[in-house]
Amino acid sequence: MTMRANADAWLWMSPLASGGAGVAALLGVSLFGGSGPGGAGVQFALAVAGFATLCAWASAVRQRAALEQLTRQAEDLLGQARQTLRQQSGVAGLEQVCDKAAPIWAKQIETARSQTEEGVTGVAARFAAIVERLQASAAASQRAAGGGDGTEDGCAVAVLSRSEADLVAVNRSMDAARHERAAMVQDVRKLIAYTADLKKMAADVEEIASQTNLLALNAAIEAARAGETGRGFAVVADEVRKLSNLSSDTGRKMAEKAGVINQAISAVIAGTEKFGEEDARQAAEAEQTIHRVLDNFREVAGRLSESSGMLRRESEGIRAEISEMLVYLQFQDRVSQILAHVRDNLDGLHARLRQYAAERSGGSAPEIDAGAWLDEMALGYTTAEQRRNHRDDKAGAASPATPGAMEITFF
């Protein structure tokens, strides 16, 4: 603005100054020679003065035009300089923003990455604990119920099997005792026959004693008939008679005792037979009770086994569900790698900006090869979607965290 004002003033003053010189020449001629004898000289002087004035005027006009052109060029340069200054000021502002913001962005990304990683790790750990507890519960239930092959010692099926065997053994033992008792009764019953024989033998003894007594009596009679010579024989006959009486008593007592024994044996047999029948009835009842208890136990064990099987199937189902979820939890690894790469790139950009600022302040301003920068950035990609995003491939937005068939290569 100031330069333009000075130039205008100078352009308008120049022709005035030239015109002033002509007027001064004309006034000089008029004053010093115009009234003398040399009038032609005066006219010539006037003409020269006029010509000089015209020349001065024309020169002034050209100078003005040149100055106007210079002014326009200067204004253009000034405008460009201002624009450049404004642009440089803007770039410097952006550099400052990047210098301050890039580390913040990198930190924000790292914070998001580490928090997500921590969260997903915690979720995975919880799932691991759930799976372990499910496995432990299902295994304990299976062991208790014997849902598998029932070989576990403490399982319900094994206990049932052992109990059944033990109870059947007890029942068989009771049966064996009953049969032994029946055999004993048969043996005792044989004793009745022996006592009958004894009674008959006692009767025979009594009969023999009676006949002996009769014989002794006859002998005593014959001894008395013999007189003095038969006196000794009479003593013998008397003694034989006494003995026969004793034998008769003994035979009678034997018969009585045999009768008593017979009655006692009959009573024992009757009692034993009565107890045997009772034992048989109780054994039958015990057997029925045992079977009923075992049936109940078997039913409970069956329900327990069924429940254990259901728990196992449910556990396996939940494990399968968790297994599916594990696939989806793997998104964190990909996200973490992508975020870490962006963070590292931001850190790299920040470092490069600082290096550039230092180089520029040192007087040099090296060019930044954006293509080389982007190529170097692409070298660090680890996922297919990063490369697709880099190519600005629209399909890159699709998430690969839901895999179809797993990509596996065996070497």
Binding site: F127, A128, Q135, Q330, F331, M406, I408, T409, F410, F411
Partner: protein, 122 residues
């Protein structure tokens, strides 16, 4: 006796995920957070298989496998590379280092277990 598998990955969540799948199938699991850490933790103990990521800090998976294969105790230990990387060049690097299989994340647990079962040392 359960077989032991080592998981090497810098992502704790992924180690958890792989660990759940393996432990559920009855394997014992030991973990390393990168190649250097894994070599330190192995320390001569018997492992029947190694599953390793590729891109890791401190020591990447390819370098880790190369180091592992130079150790007499692990010369024949099978290695599965488990990575997001699917470029053919990287796979060839893995094969040259001595890996037996290359699995691209995300993996299906059942298929991963099938691959493990196929390669795990008897």
């Amino acid at each position: 006796m359960a077989k032991t598998i080592m998981i090497v990955d810098d992502s704790a969540s992924l180690r958890q995920v792989v660990g759940i799948a393996l432990r559920g199938a009855g394997y014992d699991v030991i973990e390393g957070c990168d190649g250097k850490d894994a070599l330190a933790k192995l320390n001569g103990q018997k492992v029947h298989l190694v599953i390793s990521d590729v891109n890791m800090p401190n020591m990447d998976g390819i370098t880790f496998v190369k180091n592992l294969k130079q150790m007499p105790a692990y010369k024949f230990t099978p290695v599965i590379m488990l990575t997001t990387e699917s470029q053919e060049g990287k796979k060839q690097e893995g094969q040259a280092a001595g890996a037996k299989a290359w699995v691209v994340k995300p993996f299906q647990p059942a298929q991963m277990l099938a691959a493990v079962s196929k390669l795990v040392m008897p």
